[in-house]
């Protein structure tokens, strides 16, 4: 669909597309507004007044900081594991033709293709069966499982571009397997891996469904928010945290976009 630059879109289509985008964005903007409200007990609109005091209150809440810290650590380690596993899978699938590569792709996609609750409950019952107590590492195990696909999707597209004659050219010029990886493959897939890693981080940072099953008494930031949603304690603090979370997740998404915009698009099938 590239031929018709001059055609203007029909008005109806413009309105429908614009309204669709507005539908996606207005609720998030509303969160920003509520972060400044003076109303504590209800979700009154329009807010009766505006204040900055809840930012200070939130800043001084140790439970928010603890949840945030846990989420960052879980996301960092899960991303690291997913980077290794996803890259290995993508390399194997794209560099060689072997029996069962379709199966591998399916296996990688399965943890996000199946509803999160199934992954969660399966891991939980496996932990209890193997008598593994819930810990930081049980959360990481769950997160890394569904983060692999994000790295994989980003890497596999780029690997396809590098594979073939570039690798042969490198070997032809005297580079052995390790040199070829170091000087040719890595620089070419680097940005895709970085983008995949950022998305994996965002995915892990935000995950709640699997986490409710694999976390014991620990609260990641989403778990903290879920508790506030079910049993609100201090609504304005939740408002502020929600706004900060939105801003924080925008960063890796924008970063991933700028890293991959020249070539393959960021894999949307992430969650």
């Amino acid at each position: 669909m590239r031929s018709d630059r001059n055609n203007a879109a029909p008005l109806g289509l413009k309105i429908a597309a614009g309204a669709g985008l507005a539908f996606l964005h207005l609720p998030i903007l509303l969160i920003f507004l509520y972060a400044f409200t003076t109303e504590e007990k209800s979700y009154q609109f329009p807010p009766p007044g505006y204040t900055l005091q809840w930012f200070a209150v939130t800043w001084n809440r140790p439970d928010v900081w603890a949840a945030m810290g846990l989420s960052v650590r879980v996301a960092a380690i899960s991303t690291a594991i997913a980077l290794v596993l996803g890259t290995l899978c993508a390399a194997a699938v794209s560099q060689t033709k072997f029996f069962g590569r379709e199966t591998i792709s399916l296996l990688v996609i399965l943890p996000i293709a199946l509803p999160g609750i199934i992954t969660g409950i399966a891991l939980r019952s496996a932990f209890s069966f193997a008598e593994i107590p819930f810990s930081f590492w049980t959360i990481v195990l769950g997160h890394a499982t569904f983060c692999v696909v994000v790295v994989y999707n980003n890497a596999v597209a780029r690997f396809r571009r590098v594979s073939g004659s570039l690798i042969e050219a490198s070997m032809d010029l005297g580079a052995d397997g390790f040199q070829t990886f170091r000087y040719i493959i890595l620089p070419n897939i680097g940005t895709a891996l970085l983008a995949g890693g950022m998305l994996a981080f965002a995915l892990s940072f935000d995950e709640v469904i699997v986490t409710t099953f694999t976390a014991g008494q620990q609260s990641t930031l989403p778990i903290w928010m879920l508790e506030e949603l079910v049993r609100p304690r201090q609504r304005p603090v939740t408002n502020v945290v929600a706004m900060v979370v939105v801003l924080l997740t925008f960063l890796p998404i924008l970063g991933a976009y700028y890293l991959t915009r020249d070539g393959d698009q960021v894999a949307g099938g992430g969650k």
Binding site: G20, F98, I121, R124, G269
Partner: protein, 316 residues
């Protein structure tokens, strides 16, 4: 051009990396095996293993008196799925998933179509990020935003009051099934939030499918006397269908398994996800919880199989 070698075969590099490199070059299968072992151990053994263990438990039953699991093969748990109260849950969830998928496709199509056919340069980027940012925004924050919007004292009520249209809302809420005491505790509310949260997953696959359609195909249809509606029906829609199916895999699967949205925004009637959560948690009936999870797995299995036959995976 000073570096000349007079041998045709260069000497083997006698360091570790040189030797390893030669070894892997001679035995590419071993390299492949080494690369595949860690991910296969993780995904194939830990993840699939857990999944199978869970499915296995659905063939056990729970002793009604002691509350302990009876490790004998039985289909009794599956029969339990079919009792009216449980079957209602399944039906309710599937109907909701179908409606959410259809509505998502309807809302997503114009956005995807505009982005694929008309948006250029800067606008292309704006559309792309305009979809990606909400898609990747925190799930809970999005649900929370709707709690704010749909609350009785929230923006919807306020806006309708300003427009003197509150009676419309009241009339809608007094309807059976879709109504309720307020939007945030009705199926309508659940439905809206499901669409909001999962619809972005529909846009990108449709857009990808439409971008593969040459623009002159649409002109050709118009040229042959095709009315816009006919062009849509016979040219555009069939070409976008693989994208719609690919997107629906997400909207359908994600709705089937969600247990948080209906818990926060909706009536007290359960969805599959909530039933699984309740059965494994408070009720402690792992076999029934496992049997419930089999339902979305089977439905998604069938769905993926059909989608594959339609060639939808190319649009993913």
């Amino acid at each position: 051009m000073t570096i000349a070698a007079d041998t045709s075969i260069l000497a083997r590099r006698e360091n570790t990396s040189g030797r390893l490199s030669d070894f892997f070059w001679r035995n590419p299968k071993i390299l492949l095996l080494l690369m595949l072992t860690p991910p296969l151990l993780w995904l194939g053994v830990i993840y699939l293993g857990s999944l199978f263990a869970l499915l296995l438990q659905s063939f056990f039953s729970i002793d009604d008196f002691s509350g302990l699991i009876n490790y004998e093969f039985t289909l009794a748990t599956y029969r339990q799925l079919l009792i009216p109260s449980n079957f209602d849950i399944i039906l309710r969830t599937v109907v909701m998933a179908v409606l959410v998928t259809l509505a998502s496709a309807v809302i997503a199509f114009p956005i995807a179509y505009y982005a694929a056919r008309y948006a250029r340069g800067k606008w292309k980027v704006i559309f792309y990020l305009g979809v990606m940012l909400p898609l990747w925004s925190s799930y809970l924050v999005k649900v929370y935003a709707w709690k704010l919007i749909l609350a009785k004292e929230g923006i919807v009520t306020w806006a309708l009051a300003k427009l003197n249209l509150l009676w419309v809302l009241d009339a809608w809420l007094s309807l059976p099934v879709v109504g309720g005491t307020s939007l945030s505790i009705s199926y309508t509310g659940t439905f809206i939030v499901f669409i909001y949260v999962w619809m972005p997953f529909m846009i990108l696959p449709i857009q990808a499918a439409l971008e593969r359609v040459p623009g002159n195909l649409i002109e050709a249809s118009a040229d042959l006397g095709g009315h816009p509606a006919q062009t849509f029906r016979y040219v555009l829609f069939p070409l976008a269908l693989p994208g719609i199916i690919a997107g629906s895999i997400f909207t359908f699967s994600l709705t089937l398994g969600d247990y948080i949205i209906p818990q926060i925004i909706g009536s007290s009637r359960l969805f599959i996800g909530q039933a699984v959560y309740a059965q494994q948690g408070t009720a402690g009936n792992i076999p029934l919880a496992a049997a419930f999870t089999v339902v979305p797995i089977v439905i998604m299995g069938l769905y993926l199989w059909m989608a594959k036959r339609q060639g939808a995976f190319d649009a993913l």
